[in-house]
Amino acid sequence: MSRIGVFVCHCGLNIARTVRVDEVVEFARKLPGVVLAEDYKFVCSTPGQELIQESIEKHRLDRVIVAACSPLMHEKTFRKVIEKSGLNQYMLTIVNIREQCSWVIEDEDKATEKAKAMVNGAVYRARLLAPLAARFIDVNHDALVVGAGITGIQAALELANAGRKVYLVEKGSTIGGHMAQFDKTFPTLDCSACILTPKMDAVLQHPNIELLTYSEVSEVQGFVGNFNVKVRQKARYVDHEKCNGCMACMEKCPGKASSEFDELLSTRKAIYIPFPQAVPQKPIIDRESCTYFLKGKCRLCEKICQQGAIDYEQQDSEISLQVGAIILATGYDLMNTEALKQFGYGSYPGVYHALEIERLFNSTGPTDGKAVMRDGREPASIAILHCIGSRDKNYNEYCSRVCCMYALKFAHLFKEKTSADVYQLYIDMRCFGKNYEEFYHRLLEEDVKFIRGKAARVTDRALSPEEEGKLIVEVEDTLSNKFMRLPVDMVVLAPAMQARRGVEDLSRIFNVSLDKNRFFIERHPKLDPLATHTDGVFIAGACQGPKDIPDCVAQAIGAAAEAITIIGKDKLELEAATAFVNQQICCGCQNCVQVCPYDAPGYLADKGASEINEALCKGCGLCAASCPTGAITARHFANDQFMAELEGLMQY
């Protein structure tokens, strides 16, 4: 007979408020095989853990049941606890009486009744548990960072400085991300390029970083410690091995297109680098605007290039990498403001979005840093509209977090560069970070006008002579309860930070789930913010949710530290719950060989039976359910164990 110990947690009042813990303990104590049932305020705390360890010793327990929060939260914690007392870690069963019971059921009787049934199920199952042997695998010491904005750059540098080989994959032709487009950063107003470009250069120079620009990850196989990654490098039509970055080709190129880096406010050549400080300092050819690709003749760049680097025949290439850990730092997209017709973006040339303003202010931007409008005029009045598509149930319910602060920064820079009247149309000023509130107070003294109200509409239909030729922002000033029409020359929209377009593909490739706003989901919102449900894959920066630069950098460093805890090891312990074949029952049908996505089962012709390679098995149990003879057992989720749990769950 087994010797089971049941520990019921109060979780403060989280469980005890709706579940009568003493009644559950009383119930558990009487179940066959249970030798001890106890309750404790916080079983996960040090005294709680000690209680379990002492009880194992004192009562010679051979199985432990903890009725507390979700196994996804503390299963690992308690496995370590019982292992320290000499029990095999798989002799633990967690009963989730918090997330599945006390938090979702209001009625005390019903919650208690369900908790009892759940404990009963666990006791039934626990009796049939068997110890499992730990498995270890070798770990690849290299890392992959996807996305080379400030987050990816920082993560790659941390890993590289720790002596790890890092592959940094970037979709665009330069690294730097959105931060490279910015002019100044809040609240210190230090120049974005001055703090970013040295890091970009450090990435390029670092002996441990292999930079793969203009490349995308197309496939990830394997698992924590041993990922096999395929990267597709898009054709640049310039051989970067030969190119010396003289840029003579760019001068002569007749092809023109709108500059994506300048948010389409200026033009670039068909052979180009996105901006003067781009890394790497080597151009690519854009097929869509190249005269040769469009009309079949030109080849001017080829004639000029003394290195012979131009290669119109270049094809996409595929690179295979082996890494032990992956950090996703794929960033965000600004919401497409043209979809919000009421604010007139795209209809009125005087309406701008935030990234366009960043480029206008930037000395390497389309206006050489002058705050002038598309028609060359300097605006005499400017309205900055907060929360465009953020904090709005019609678009994105969440707050984009950075807009209040950059709106203040814009106001300051407009004041510095022009003599315009600047209006802030805000819902709430959210200045949460270090020195942010102080920056807000500084702006309050810079003659910026704050109107508390979300702009409703931008129109050019004048109702009075002073509105003629202006853009009129309609807004309700909620402090004075007055409806206002605000005539201005220039309107600046602060659109929502959104998940990247195409993030669904990344989600599939890296096996990381998306939340309802299509941002990546972290393993735990508070205690495990950088890990994902796929071991060895971490997330950092704005791909997890809107963030400012300091938060992105902090997350990047954190994710690098997380990655090192994996790739810094030589061996890694794997979940031991794999499947195995009883070859005496196996009929050799090879169903298991066909269904397994990991090629773990193989057919042994000489034995006429299958065998499962435990190093490859992930323990999903598909083969066990597919086996017609019942020859395959999914350890820890075996038929008899699961059936017993059902019986226990359904008994009461």
């Binding site: 979702v104 989600s507 149990g621 598909l622 699961f642 769950l649 359904m650």
Partner: protein
């Protein structure tokens, strides 16, 4: 008091179980009737588990897995989808109302959908009344 059904839930670890956790952390209330057993993947579910649950007296069985195409094990839930469709047919053949068995694809971010599914399904099973067709076979277990 109206009939209070007993329902077995089987949830995959990565999507539906996590989604149920989210329902909990966001304190969404739903009926107490569903008792959830966890499997790593919906593909682990042997149809015998479903039959067994009904024989043991379950009034309904609710299975949850990742959305087709989003399986943590890449293709497991596609096998589960086919296998459970057949299971439903067999239950029907055995004389059970097919409405007592439901398969729902609920992702880790869909706590609200988990709660809503439990609410709906509990009502549906409540309206069907106690399940006696297979429960009567319980003595055969001994």
């Amino acid at each position: 008091m109206s009939f209070d059904p007993k329902i077995l839930g089987i949830a995959c670890n990565w999507c539906t179980y996590t989604g149920a956790d989210l329902a909990g952390t966001t304190r969404l209330h739903y009926p107490h009737n569903v008792r959830v057993a966890r499997v790593m993947c919906s593909s682990r579910i042997n149809p015998a588990f479903i039959f067994r649950a009904f024989v043991l007296g379950a009034d309904g069985v609710l299975v949850g897995g990742c959305h087709p195409g989003d399986c943590h094990y890449s293709t497991g839930n596609l096998y589960a989808r086919r296998r459970l469709a057949v299971t439903k047919k067999i239950l029907e053949f055995a004389g059970l109302e097919p409405e007592r068995f439901r398969v729902a694809w609920i992702s880790a971010s869909e706590g609200n959908i988990f709660a809503e599914t439990v609410r709906e399904f509990t009502e549906q099973v409540r309206n069907l009344g106690p399940q006696t067709k297979l429960a009567a076979q319980k003595r055969m277990l001994a």
